[in-house]
Amino acid sequence: MSASGSKSVPSVGFLTVQEYTDLGLIGGYLILNAVGRPLEFHCTAPVRPNRAQEILYGPTLAPFLYGEQIGQTLVAKGKSRPMFVCTDVEPVLSVREFVSVPVVLITAGGDESNRQHRLDASHAVPPAPKSRKLCEFQLAHHQAAVAEDHARDRDNIVEQWRPHTEAVDLLEPFSRLREAIEEAQRGATRA
C-alpha cells in the first residue's frame, strides 16, 4: 500500500467499481477532504477477466478483480492517506487484505447491499460469495460494515469520523464518483 501519508489534511477515500457490458469493470477512487471537496480522482482503464480466470477463480473472481486488481491499484495511486476508504460495492472490501488503510462498506439499506455486479453474459463474474463475514455497525446516518477479519477497523473508523459526521454524507460522493467515471470513460472514447 503506497498511500502513505504525504498530507495532513483529514481526508476520506471513496472507492467503487462500475460495470460496463461492453468494456468490463472500471474502478474509480475519489479522495475528499473533510468538508467534501475533491482532492484526488483516479480511475482505471477497463478491466476484463480472461476465460481462464473465470474458470479457475470461480467464486473468488469478484473479490480478486474488485479488490486485488482494481482496488489495490487505485488506493496505491493516492497521494493523500485517507482516514479510511469507503466503498459501496461489497467485493471491494477484499482490498483490505492488500492495503493498510481501513476499508468500510457503506450502504443506504437493503437495496444497495444486495446489488449485483456482473459483466456481460459471456463473461459473467459470479456474484460475491455470501459467506463473507461482515462486522456491521452504524456510521453516522448509514449502515456500515467491515470485513470480520478486520473488525478492529470499526472502532478506528467510528472514532475518526465522529468530528466530521455532519459535514459529509458518506453515500453522496459515490454519485459524483460514478459520474466522473462516466465522464472519464467518455473522454477516453473520444480520444
Binding site: 489534511v9 474502478g27 475519489l30 475528499l32 477532504n33 468538508v35 467534501g36 471537496r37 475533491p38 482532492l39 484526488e40 480522482f41 483516479h42 480511475c43 482505471t44 482503464a45 478491466v47 481462464a52 480466470q53 479457475l56 486488481q69 482494481i70 491499484t73 487505485l74 495511486k77 497521494k79 443506504a108 453516522a140 446516518h141 448509514h142 455532519e166 459535514a167 459529509v168 454524507d169 458518506l170 453515500l171 453522496e172 460522493p173 454519485s175 459524483r176 464518483l177 459520474e179 466522473a180 465522464e183 472519464a184 473522454g187 477516453a188
Partner: protein, 588 residues
C-alpha cells in the same frame, strides 16, 4: 453299552465307564518338497517398449498485467480568512436531512465549452451546493429556493453566461452567492460589478446580507479618489456604475487592470453595440463575463447579439434566425419565469382599465391628431421618424391630461381606485413615463400620502423615500417614473400597481410591475393598465403584444418570431403613413 453299565441300572447307581482308543495309525514318507518351498522363486521379466507420446499439458497464465490508471489532483481550497461578523439573521435555515434524499441535491455541471477533462472533472466532483452552503462558515440568511440553487450551479462554472430570470426571482442573490463561492474557492480574486447608478446601494445592501465576509469597494467620489480606488483598493470586489465607467474609461482600460470576472447588471444597457457603454465594457480586460438581465431581448434579436458581443464576441451574428440563435445561445442563457418556478408566489392579476377620454380630452385629441397627420403628410420627403414620435408623444400626453382644462379620465379612475386602496390600508405604485405627469398627479393625490421617486428626486434622498413609503402607514401611494423606478427596487409590500401610461417596451413594463410582484410578496398583486380607447395608446398596445410574443419566441425556444417589434414602418403605420425607406424598398 457294557455289561457293568447294565448291571448298575438295576442294582446300584454306580457308573461304569468304558474307553476306546480312537487313534489311527499314521505312516510318513519323504516327498522332497520341503526344499522347493523355501527356495527363492525365479521371475522372468519381459520388457515391452512403449511407443506412445507423452501426455500434453496446457498452461494458463494467471499472472495479471498491471491495471492502467488515470489520475487527477485538485488544489486544496484556501481557507477564507474571516468569518462573518455581522448579526445573525433572525431567519435561520432549516436543517437538511443528510442521507436520505440525493435527488434534491444540486450539482455543478460543466458547460459544453469546457472541454479539458480535468476541468470538467473538477466541477463534476464538487459537493452539492446544498452541502457547501450548509457548512458552518457559509452562513446563509435564508434558505435559497431550489431554482436559485440551479441558478448558482449554472453561473459557477461558466466563463460566459446570461442569467435572464424574470424580475423578482432573485438574480442578485444568485449572482452574489456564485461570486462568493468562487472567491472562497480561490477561482476569483478580482471582481468588477457594473450596475446602473441607482442600484449601487441596493447591491451593497444585498452583499451585506448574502456575503457579509467579502470586502467590497464602491467606486465613487472625485476623480482622484476614484482613480486610487480603481488601482489600489485591496477589496476583491469593486462596484461601479455605468455612468462612472464612461468617465473613468482611461484608467479602466489603459492602466493594466484585469478582472477575473466582470458582471453587468441590467445588461440590456449594452444591447446597442455602437454605444459608448457597450464599447467600454467590451474592452475591459477580464477572464469571465456574466450578464444579468430580465430582458435580454427588448426590441429585437439584435439585442441579444449586442449582449453576446460582451460575453463571446462574434458568437452570435446579426441575421441569424431566432430558432438558430436560440439553439446557439441555449447553453449560455438561463431563463426562468415565476409561473414555472414559483408556483406558490401569489398571483399577478391584470385589470386593464379601458377608458373613454373625457369630452374635453377627446376634442383636443381629435384636433391634435388631424392637424398632426396633415402636418406630417405636408412634410413629404422631409418626414422623419422623429416627426412621427413627436406627434405620438403629444397625443399620449393628451390621453393623460387635456392640455387646456386638465381633464383626465385616467385620473378620475385612478382616484376612485386609490380611495379603495387607502381605505383598505394597502399601498400602490403609480408609473408614468413623464415626470410632469407625476407632478400633476402628486397635486391631485396628496390626500393619499403621496411620495415621489423619479429623476428629479436626488439620489441621496431616494433611499429615504423608499423607507418612508415602506414604514409609514399613512403613505399609500408612490409615484414613479419608469426610468428611475423600474429596476432594482424591492417593493413587495405593495399590492397594487397602476400603469398610468404605457411604455414603449413591454419588458420595461414588466420590470416595473415586478417591483411589487416578487419573492416576499404577501399577497396577490393587481396590475391596472390604463388605456384610452380609440387612441394612439390602443394602437401601440397591439404592437406591444406582438413584442411580447417575440420575447417568448427567442427565450422559450419554441417558434420563430412573427415580428421584430416596433419597426420604423410600424411607427409610421400608427398614422397610416408610409416611411420613405419602405417606399424605396417597394420601388426597388
Amino acid at each position: 453299552m457294557t455289561q457293568s453299565a447294565l448291571t448298575n441300572r438295576h442294582d446300584s447307581p454306580a457308573i461304569e465307564t468304558t474307553s476306546f482308543d480312537l487313534s489311527l495309525p499314521v505312516s510318513s514318507f519323504a516327498t522332497g518338497w520341503g526344499a522347493a518351498l523355501t527356495r527363492t522363486q525365479k521371475i522372468d521379466v519381459v520388457t515391452t517398449e512403449c511407443t506412445a507420446e507423452p501426455p500434453k499439458t496446457i498452461s494458463f497464465r494467471l499472472g495479471c498485467p498491471a491495471v492502467k490508471t488515470y489520475s487527477y489532483a485538485f488544489p486544496e481550497l484556501p481557507e477564507w480568512r474571516t468569518e462573518p461578523t455581522g448579526k445573525k439573521s433572525q431567519t435561520s435555515k432549516k436543517s437538511r436531512p443528510q442521507a436520505d434524499n440525493h435527488a434534491g441535491r444540486t450539482r455543478l455541471k460543466p458547460p459544453t465549452d469546457i472541454v479539458k477533462l480535468e476541468d470538467r472533472l473538477y466541477y463534476m466532483l464538487q459537493p452539492p451546493l446544498e452541502t457547501i452552503l450548509s457548512s458552518e462558515s457559509m452562513h446563509m440568511p435564508f434558505e435559497p429556493f431550489p431554482y436559485q440553487y440551479q441558478g448558482i450551479a449554472f453561473l459557477y462554472p461558466r466563463f460566459a453566461a446570461i442569467l435572464a430570470d424574470e424580475m423578482g426571482l432573485g438574480k442578485t442573490m444568485q449572482a452574489i452567492t456564485s461570486m462568493r463561492l468562487l472567491l472562497r474557492a480561490g477561482e476569483l480574486r478580482k471582481v468588477l460589478l457594473i450596475c446602473p447608478k441607482p442600484l449601487v446601494s441596493n447591491w451593497k445592501r444585498e452583499f451585506t446580507m448574502w456575503a457579509p465576509e467579502i470586502p467590497l469597494c464602491v467606486i465613487e467620489g472625485d476623480q482622484t479618489r476614484r482613480h486610487w480606488q480603481w488601482r489600489h483598493q485591496a477589496a476583491p470586489l469593486k462596484i461601479a456604475n455605468y455612468e462612472l465607467l464612461m468617465r473613468d474609461r482611461d484608467v479602466v482600460l489603459d492602466s493594466g487592470l484585469h478582472f477575473d470576472l466582470v458582471v453587468l447588471d441590467e445588461a440590456q444597457r449594452i444591447k446597442n453595440r455602437s454605444s459608448t457603454t457597450s464599447q467600454i465594457t467590451r474592452a475591459i480586460s477580464r477572464s469571465r463575463s456574466w450578464a444579468l438581465t430580465g430582458t435580454p431581448v427588448e426590441n429585437s434579436s439584435e439585442d441579444l447579439v449586442g449582449i453576446f458581443e460582451f460575453l463571446s464576441p462574434g458568437y452570435l451574428q446579426s441575421g441569424m434566425t431566432a430558432r438558430r440563435m436560440a439553439k446557439a445561445a441555449g447553453d449560455y442563457i438561463l431563463r426562468r419565469t415565476k409561473e414555472k418556478v414559483l408556483t406558490d408566489l401569489p398571483p399577478k392579476l391584470y385589470r386593464d382599465a379601458e377608458l373613454d377620454l373625457t369630452p374635453d380630452q377627446w376634442c383636443s385629441y381629435k384636433s391634435a391628431e388631424e392637424d398632426g397627420v396633415i402636418q406630417l403628410e405636408g412634410l413629404g420627403a422631409e418626414l422623419t421618424i422623429q416627426h412621427v414620435f413627436e406627434l405620438v408623444l403629444r397625443l399620449k400626453q393628451i390621453c393623460n391630461f387635456d392640455p387646456a382644462t386638465g381633464a383626465s379620465s385616467k385620473l378620475e379612475r385612478l382616484e376612485a381606485d386609490l380611495e379603495e386602496v387607502a381605505a383598505s390600508g394597502r399601498k400602490a405604485i403609480v408609473f408614468s413615463q413623464w415626470v410632469g405627469v407625476l407632478e400633476k398627479l402628486r397635486d391631485r393625490l396628496r390626500r393619499f400620502g403621496t411620495l415621489e421617486y423619479h429623476g428629479k428626486i436626488p439620489a441621496k434622498k431616494r433611499e429615504t423615500v423608499i423607507s418612508q413609503f415602506k414604514e409609514d402607514p399613512s403613505k399609500h401611494v408612490i409615484l414613479m417614473s419608469y426610468g428611475a423606478g423600474s429596476v432594482g427596487l424591492n417593493l413587495q409590500f405593495c399590492r397594487y400597481v397602476f400603469l398610468f401610461d404605457r411604455w414603449w417596451n413591454p419588458a420595461v413594463e414588466d420590470q416595473a410591475i415586478n417591483r411589487a410582484h416578487r419573492i416576499g410578496a404577501a399577497g396577490s398583486v393587481t396590475v391596472n393598465r390604463m388605456l384610452t380607447l380609440g387612441t394612439i395608446e390602443e394602437r401601440i398596445n397591439q404592437i406591444l403584444e406582438e413584442k411580447r410574443a417575440l420575447f417568448e419566441a427567442i427565450l422559450s425556444q419554441t417558434a420563430a418570431p412573427r415580428s421584430l417589434g416596433l419597426s420604423q414602418d410600424e411607427v409610421f403605420g400608427l398614422f397610416d403613413l408610409k416611411s420613405r425607406r419602405s417606399d424605396q424598398r417597394r420601388a426597388a
